[in-house]
């Protein structure tokens, strides 16, 4: 009886905390959605919600071929980059966390240094290389830099993670008669997954939101991604900003991320539930 009321009050407490989190996350987002629904007549009225919402901006961007093409580019480029970065990052991170080999410190230091250099200084030389090699304005032309700048974070996150995994469990499982593959799949993989999926989400979002490389290393809609395409939106005249269209595009391109996160966040659960660790 009392245990039940305790859990109920606990639930209510958490519910309130959750509401706070949702307010934090969504108030500014609602403002962006509201901007996307405002027409020219109410855009400047200073009200939080649109007085007479219109979906003009949405129909406008969905009839814009360049935007749709950019959406396809974004999805393709970011999925490929995330996948490759994860594979390469996991390999490197495993080695760094578990193995002893010369040059390890150098690799760790180098990857950190790379992620420290201001990217605006790299764009022009990178553009030169890509035009010389024929990668300018292609998918690989964006995928390569994305992988590069995702790898340091990936390697750091994953190796910090792999270090914390109790690898003795693998040995223990093998002693209990598990094959190496089983030991990996049943014991190690579940423990490693939260780190891998966290990294996947971070890498995907970083790639999805990149503007600098997208605008500098593309020139047509062959490889242009959404954030870059948005800077090509125009108002009715040179001096008007396409506020509603930009806001609408921002809302639209947030949806794939939400789906991506929904899909992956389930797997970021407590890896070590009671029973998995003994002693």
């Amino acid at each position: 009886m009392s245990a039940q009321t305790e859990t109920t009050s606990k639930k209510v407490g958490w519910g309130l905390v959750n509401v706070l989190v949702l307010l934090y996350a969504f108030v500014p987002v609602v403002w962006i959605i509201s901007l996307s629904l405002k027409g020219g007549d109410t855009l400047n009225d200073g009200k939080f919600l649109p007085a007479n919402p219109t979906s003009d901006a949405y129909s406008k961007i969905f009839s814009n071929d360049d935007f749709l093409r950019a959406l396809a580019n974004s999805i393709g480029i970011c999925l490929i980059s995330t996948f490759i970065a994860l594979v390469l990052g996991t390999m490197a991170a495993y080695a760094i966390a578990r193995l002893d080999f010369p040059g390890k410190t150098a690799i760790v230091a180098m990857s950190l240094l790379i992620s420290m250099f201001p990217q605006i200084a790299l764009v022009t030389p990178l553009f030169k290389i890509e035009t010389a090699v024929g990668l300018f304005d292609t998918w690989p032309g964006l995928i390569l830099p994305y992988i590069t700048f995702a790898l340091p974070l990936g390697i750091y996150t994953l190796s910090a993670f792999f270090r914390e995994i109790p690898w003795e469990l693998e040995k223990a499982a093998k002693m209990d008669g598990a094959t190496p593959y089983q030991a990996f799949r049943k014991v190690i993989a579940p423990l490693a997954m939260p780190g891998v999926f966290t990294t996947a989400i971070l890498v995907f979002i970083a790639c999805w939101n990149d503007f600098l490389f997208a605008i500098s290393l593309t020139s047509t809609n062959r490889a242009r991604t959404v954030p870059a395409a948005m800077s090509y939106f125009t108002g009715a005249t040179t001096f008007e900003k396409p506020t509603a269209a930009i806001a609408a595009a921002a809302v639209i391109i947030t949806i794939p991320i939400v789906i991506f996160v929904l899909f992956f966040q389930r797997r970021i659960v407590a890896g070590l539930t009671s029973g998995a660790v003994k002693g």
């Binding site: 639930k11 959750n18 490197a92 966290t198 970021i268």
Partner: protein
């Protein structure tokens, strides 16, 4: 004499050789596993980074590629003796320290909520990440709109973006709002590794929630904290998008990245611009070094795991 003693020697030798073979195999595997990542990173960044460092010693303009002139450290003297640079440096430091501190506190709180909540966990986790997912320039633009007098819901009759400190705080707000989820996600991944049993045992021994947090959780997720803090600081020090949209550096709110952008990309002054990039790089490297020293062995690559 020799045969009798030699035998155990040989055995040791073989054992040693085996061990060193195993060691060599491990070394080879380690290098092989790292090779692809290293190759990609180097092939994309080696030339651009070295080229930028090289240019920082030249008087160079993008419009006149033939007229580069080697001027030793003159560019560094010019930049480091400029009040514009130091004003931007101060603002950048301020924004970095304040926003990273807030992000760590709020990020930790959010991570605990995302990790522990017992109702609507999926909803909370997914929606908490939405701010990080919104394209930075759009978020910045919507903040600018919201804080503009007359047309934004937050501004009312004031015009905060026309004054220095209110602008700086709005920039910090925009930064913090956007990147708390980044922190939270990294910290939550760390929390997932804290053994429940340990916490339960501590709880039975009479440790309060606060003690459990400081004595068990924090030490265990130290590596995650380091990574999150490190990468956030690196990014925060290069703050650009939010300032560019919110004030474009008006009222002395320029960050070092804004100044570098104005010289390098707008002014096409490759020499000065590259010098600023190198100086930003050096500053960040120092910060990172301090962090790693501070956190000691929590950095990856130090020690060999288990």
């Amino acid at each position: 004499m020799s045969t009798l003693v030699a035998q155990p020697d040989e055995a040791v030798d073989i054992a040693k050789r085996r061990a060193s073979e195993g060691k060599r195999a491990e070394q080879r595997l380690g290098m092989l596993l790292c090779a692809p990542a290293v190759v990609v990173m180097l092939s994309v960044t080696a030339y651009p980074i070295l080229y930028a460092i090289y240019l920082s010693f030249f008087k160079a303009d993008l419009r006149t590629p033939g007229n580069n002139e080697f001027i030793w450290l003159s560019n560094y003297v010019t930049v480091l003796s400029s009040p514009i640079w130091w004003s931007a440096f101060g603002i950048t430091m301020f924004i970095t320290v304040i926003s990273t501190a807030f992000e760590l506190i709020f990020g930790m709180m959010l991570a605990v909520v995302m990790h522990r909540t017992i109702v609507g966990r999926g909803l909370v986790r997914t929606s908490a990440l939405v701010p990080y997912a919104i394209v930075t320039v759009v978020a910045a633009f919507s903040w600018r709109f919201a804080w503009t007098q007359g047309i934004g819901w937050l501004a009312g009759d004031s015009a905060p973006l026309t004054e220095k400190w209110p602008s700086v705080w709005i920039i910090i707000l925009a930064e913090v709002w956007k990147t708390v989820p980044f922190m939270a996600l990294l910290l939550m991944a760390g929390l997932a590794l804290v053994p429940e049993d340990l916490l339960k045992a501590a709880s039975m021994d009479g440790a309060t929630a606060w003690q459990r947090f400081w004595k068990i959780t924090v030490p265990l997720i130290k590596p995650s904290i380091l990574v999150a803090l490190l990468f956030r600081t690196l990014d925060a020090f290069r703050v650009f998008d939010n300032i560019y949209i919110l004030t474009s550096g008006a009222n002395n709110t320029s960050s070092v990245s804004i100044v570098a952008y104005n010289n390098l990309i707008r002014g096409l002054n490759l020499g000065i611009g590259s010098t600023m990039a190198v100086l930003i790089f050096i500053t960040i490297a120092i910060i990172a070094f301090l962090f790693i020293k501070l956190f000691g062995a929590a950095a990856p690559g130090q020690g060999t795991g288990r």
